[in-house]
C-alpha cells in the first residue's frame, strides 16, 4: 500500500475514534458547562453503556441488529437514569460544590467499577456488530460498520446541537449555565435542569460506548481511556464550549489515528498530552473557551 492510501486509512480510523470520543466528551463538557461539576465517573457511564450492550445482546433473540438497536435505546436510558439517581442522592446533597463533587464522583467511579466487576466479571467480551458489510476501496477493504459509527455520531451531535440552540430545554440549559441564580429568578427549576443535564451527559457517553463496543470489547476497566481523552478534549476545546469540544475531538481523534498508524500509539498519547500542556500554559481557557 502506498503512502496516500495508508494515510487515508489512518484518517478513517482517526475519524472513528473522533466520533466515539466526541460523544463522550460532549457529555462531559455539557455537565461541566452547565453544572460546574467535574464528573470523574464519566468514563464509568461509558463502560456501563458497553456492558449493557453485552447483556442486551444476550437477552434479545434474533439478528444482531435487533439487539444492537435495543442496546442503543436502552443503554442511554438506563445509564441516564442511574446518573439522575447519582445527581439526586449525591451531587444535589453536596449543593454542587465544585470541589466536593470531584471527590464524590471519584467515589462513584470506584463503586460503579466494582459493581461491574461483581456482576459482569473481569473478562473482556465481544459484542457483535449489527451488520458486517465491508466495502472495497481500490487499495483496501473497510468496515462499513465503522463508517456507520461516524454517521451515527454526527447525527447524534447534530441533534444535541439543535436541541441546545433551538429548543426550550436547550435555552433553559444555556441560561442556567450562564447564571443559575438569575435563571431561578425567571422560573427555571435549576435542580431539575441539573438532573436532566447529568442524565443527558451520561446517556451520551453510554451511546458512544454502544457504538464503540462492536469494534472493541466490553470490559469493566474500559472507562479509563474515554475519561482521560474526554478531559484532554474538553481542556483543549475550552470548558463548556460545545464547538470547541467537537473541534478538539476531531483533532485528537485524527492525530491519534495518523500518529498511531505511522509511528506508535504511545507517541500519539505523548503528543496529545503535550498539546494539553501547551494549551494549559498558553491558553488556559481552551481554544474556544471564554476568558475566565
Amino acid at each position: 500500500m502506498g503512502f496516500g492510501p495508508f494515510l487515508l486509512l489512518a484518517l478513517m480510523e482517526g475519524l472513528v475514534t473522533a466520533a466515539v470520543l466526541s460523544l463522550a466528551a460532549v457529555g462531559l463538557s455539557l455537565v461541566f458547562g452547565v453544572m460546574r461539576v467535574v464528573n470523574v465517573a464519566h468514563g464509568e457511564f461509558f463502560m456501563l453503556g458497553a456492558v449493557i450492550a453485552w447483556f442486551v445482546a444476550g437477552l434479545v433473540p434474533g439478528p444482531a441488529w435487533m439487539a444492537f438497536l435495543a442496546a442503543l435505546v436502552l443503554a442511554p436510558l438506563v445509564v441516564g437514569a442511574l446518573a439522575a439517581a447519582v445527581d439526586g442522592l449525591v451531587l444535589k446533597r453536596l449543593n454542587y460544590d465544585p470541589e466536593a463533587t470531584i471527590v464524590a464522583t471519584i467515589g462513584v467511579m470506584y463503586m460503579v467499577q466494582q459493581a461491574a466487576l461483581s456482576f459482569y466479571g473481569p473478562d473482556a467480551r465481544p459484542v457483535a456488530a449489527p451488520f458486517d458489510w465491508r466495502f472495497q476501496l481500490p487499495w483496501f477493504g473497510y468496515s462499513g460498520y465503522k463508517l456507520f459509527v461516524v454517521a451515527a455520531a454526527v447525527a447524534v451531535l447534530l441533534a444535541v446541537w439543535l436541541g441546545m440552540t433551538r429548543t426550550r430545554a436547550g435555552l433553559v440549559m444555556r441560561a442556567t449555565q450562564v447564571d443559575r441564580d438569575v435563571a431561578r429568578a425567571f422560573g427555571i427549576d435549576v435542580e431539575r435542569v441539573y438532573m436532566g443535564t447529568f442524565a443527558l451527559g451520561a446517556g451520551l457517553a453510554a451511546m458512544g460506548a454502544v457504538l464503540y463496543v462492536p469494534i472493541s470489547q466490553a470490559h469493566y476497566l474500559m472507562g479509563h481511556d474515554p475519561l482521560l481523552l474526554s478531559f484532554i478534549v474538553v481542556i483543549i476545546g475550552g470548558l463548556g464550549s460545545l464547538r470547541g469540544t467537537l473541534v478538539a475531538a476531531l483533532v485528537i481523534g485524527l492525530s491519534d489515528g495518523v500518529i498511531s498508524m505511522f509511528f506508535s500509539p504511545t507517541l500519539a498519547k505523548i503528543l496529545a498530552t503535550l498539546l494539553v500542556a501547551m494549551v494549559l500554559v498558553f491558553r488556559p481557557q481552551g481554544l474556544f473557551g471564554a476568558k475566565a
Binding site: 435555552l171 431561578r184 425567571f186 422560573g187 427555571i188 427549576d189
Partner: protein
C-alpha cells in the same frame, strides 16, 4: 401589595438583613437608599428567594411567599433586575427575552409590548447580549424582567454607570410602569434621581430599614440623605 415583616436573611452563617420591615404599593415607586453594604442587594435577593430567609415574612397580595423555592417566586408576580444587569451574555437579545417570558404564555404579544418600551432592542434581537452597549444592556435587563408581566418590579441600581441620556430613558420606563400600576422598588443612590421618581423612600443601614419618608417631604438637603447616604 408587597409587604415585608421582620425579614432576617444572610449568606450561610453571616446574617445580613436583621428584621427588615418594608412595603411597596401598586402604582408607586418606592426607592431604597443606603450606603454600600447596607444590604439593599441582599434585600432584593431575599425577596426573590435566592438568599435564604431565616425569619420574618414576605407577603405578596396577602400570601406568604418567603418559603417558596426561588423558581416559584416569579410566577407569583415578582421580577428582578439585578445589580450589574447579569444578562445571559452569550445568548441573543431575543433569547434573553424568551427566558424572561419562559413561564408566561402569550410570549409574542408580551414581547411586542416590551419592545415598544425599548425600540432600540428590536434592531438587535439576534445579537448576543454581551455585545450591547451598557445602556442597551440595562434596557434588556429591564425588558427581560418585564416579559414576566410582574406586579412588583425590583430594580437594583439600574442607572449605575450609565450616560445621562440612557438614565433619562430608564427613568421614563420606570414612570411608565408606575402609571401601568406596577409596584416598583428601586435601589438608587443619586438624590436628584430619587426626588424625581420616588413616591416614598426607605432608608437602610446595617441590614435594616431605619426610616421611611414620603418623597414629597424630602428635599436635596434633607437630613436623611446626609444620615443614610452621606451626601
Amino acid at each position: 401589595m408587597l409587604e415585608l415583616r421582620g425579614l432576617t436573611a444572610g449568606y450561610g452563617p453571616v446574617t445580613v438583613l436583621r428584621g427588615v420591615d418594608f412595603a411597596a404599593r401598586a402604582g408607586e415607586v418606592t426607592c431604597v437608599m443606603g450606603r454600600n453594604g447596607a444590604g439593599k442587594t441582599t434585600l432584593m435577593k431575599a425577596i426573590m428567594g435566592i438568599v435564604p430567609v431565616s425569619a420574618g415574612t414576605v407577603m405578596l397580595d396577602g400570601q406568604a411567599i418567603q418559603d417558596l423555592p426561588a423558581h416559584l417566586v416569579p410566577g407569583k408576580g415578582l421580577a428582578w433586575v439585578p445589580q450589574g444587569r447579569r444578562l445571559f451574555g452569550p445568548l441573543t437579545v431575543a433569547e434573553n427575552l424568551d427566558v424572561g417570558g419562559l413561564i408566561r404564555g402569550n410570549r409574542a404579544k408580551v414581547r411586542d409590548h416590551v419592545l415598544a418600551l425599548f425600540p432600540r432592542l428590536r434592531e438587535r434581537l439576534n445579537q448576543p447580549a454581551a455585545t450591547l452597549s451598557g445602556g442597551e444592556q440595562q434596557m434588556l435587563a429591564i425588558a427581560r424582567a418585564l416579559c414576566l408581566e410582574p406586579k412588583v418590579l425590583l430594580l437594583d441600581e439600574p442607572t449605575e454607570g450609565l450616560q445621562p441620556s440612557m438614565i433619562a430613558l430608564i427613568r421614563e420606563a420606570v414612570l411608565r410602569l408606575k402609571a401601568e400600576g406596577v409596584a416598583v422598588v428601586l435601589v438608587e443612590q443619586r438624590v436628584e434621581a430619587v426626588l424625581r421618581m420616588a413616591d416614598r423612600v426607605a432608608f437602610m443601614a446595617h441590614g435594616s430599614v431605619e426610616e421611611v419618608a414620603e418623597a414629597a417631604a424630602l428635599h436635596p438637603g434633607a437630613r436623611q440623605f446626609a444620615d443614610f447616604v452621606g451626601v
